[in-house]
């Protein structure tokens, strides 16, 4: 399985993503510099977390316009799976590969902690190793993670089964208490229409190693390895 990690100026979870990918696939991913118009053939493209362009102006906005993103958009539209984590999710929305936007957290503060997520789909290439409705623990680390879309879009996302994860309490209850950032309808991650593009704010790559006090994130990479060639 060939994977690529896109590196923007200011990306800082690129190495973390590479480590998790290598652990899952057995091969190091190609690290692709944002300025390169060439994107190697990939079975999976990962947009990592970080502060591309300092998150200045709006998180992800400037990265969404870098040369390599034109190619990423093309590949994504051609069916290549794309995983956007945290800043990568922000880039995907700014590039309009996913609907909605990620706004400043309701607390207005950066928030770094483990949160609970409810797995809303277990039949996607990203999540089939999870059980439907399972509660998993992933870390979040962001200041702009409050998912916002208009009501119609939210209804459509729900109707089409495109909500990937929702923030919840340890018990699985999807409540305001379990929502760390004020996201609409507790949405933590969403798919595109074809289920081949996933954007999520929490960091699966940060809990993919037993030494890091949990491995709930590893199942996402394992799912991908199984689903992809």
């Amino acid at each position: 399985m060939k994977t690529s990690v896109i590196v923007f100026p200011g990306s800082n979870c690129d190495r973390d993503a590479a480590v998790a990918l290598e652990a899952a696939t057995g091969h190091p991913p190609a690290m692709v510099w944002h300025g390169d118009a060439e994107l190697p053939n990939s079975d999976l493209i990962v947009l990592p977390g970080g502060f591309s362009y300092g998150d200045y102006l709006r998180s992800g906005a400037m990265a969404a316009h870098s040369p390599v993103m034109r190619e990423v958009v093309k590949r994504a539209k051609g069916g290549t799976p794309v995983l956007g984590i945290c800043n990568g999710f922000q880039v995907l929305t700014e590039a309009r590969l996913l609907p909605g936007v990620l706004m400043r957290n309701a607390t207005l503060k950066f928030i770094c902690k483990d949160v609970y997520l409810k797995v809303e789909r277990s039949d996607s290439m990203f999540t089939h190793r999870y059980v439907l409705g399972e509660v998993v623990r992933f870390p979040v680390a962001h200041k702009d993670g409050s998912y916002f879309a208009d009501e119609d879009t939210l209804d459509r996302l729900e109707g089409e089964g495109r909500v990937a994860f929702r923030y919840c309490e340890a018990s699985g209850a999807v409540t305001e208490v379990g929502n760390p950032n004020g996201s609409s309808r507790n949405i933590a991650g969403i798919y595109n229409e074809t289920g081949t593009v996933l954007g999520l704010m929490p960091h699966p790559e940060r809990l993919a190693d037993p030494a890091l006090s949990g491995t709930d994130g590893a199942k996402m990479f394992a799912s991908l390895v199984e689903a992809l060639p």
Binding site: M62, R104, A106, S146
Partner: protein, 81 residues
């Protein structure tokens, strides 16, 4: 020419920053303020003396990058630099 661009959240989009500022103003004793909204202000110099062309350029910049039109509106003024 110089463009002064203001970018504001659309009506109906939640503005936690504006709300927080409003709360802080109330706490400071400005009890009578309301409807506080926060946006962005951007100044850009465009090397273009034809106002129509400058306007077109500024609008393209806003649409493509400066504003996220899903949630934001923009307005601008031009002046000779």
């Amino acid at each position: 020419m110089k463009a002064r661009i203001t970018i504001t959240l659309k009506q109906g989009v939640l503005d936690p920053q504006g709300k927080a500022i409003e709360g802080a103003l109330h706490a400071l004793g400005f009890g009578s303020v309301g409807n506080v909204r926060q946006g962005k202000y951007i100044e850009v110099e465009v090397d273009e003396s034809d106002p129509a062309k400058a306007r077109a350029a500024v609008e393209r910049m806003c649409d493509q990058l400066l504003a996220n039109t899903i949630i934001e509106n923009y307005a601008y003024e031009l002046e000779a630099a």
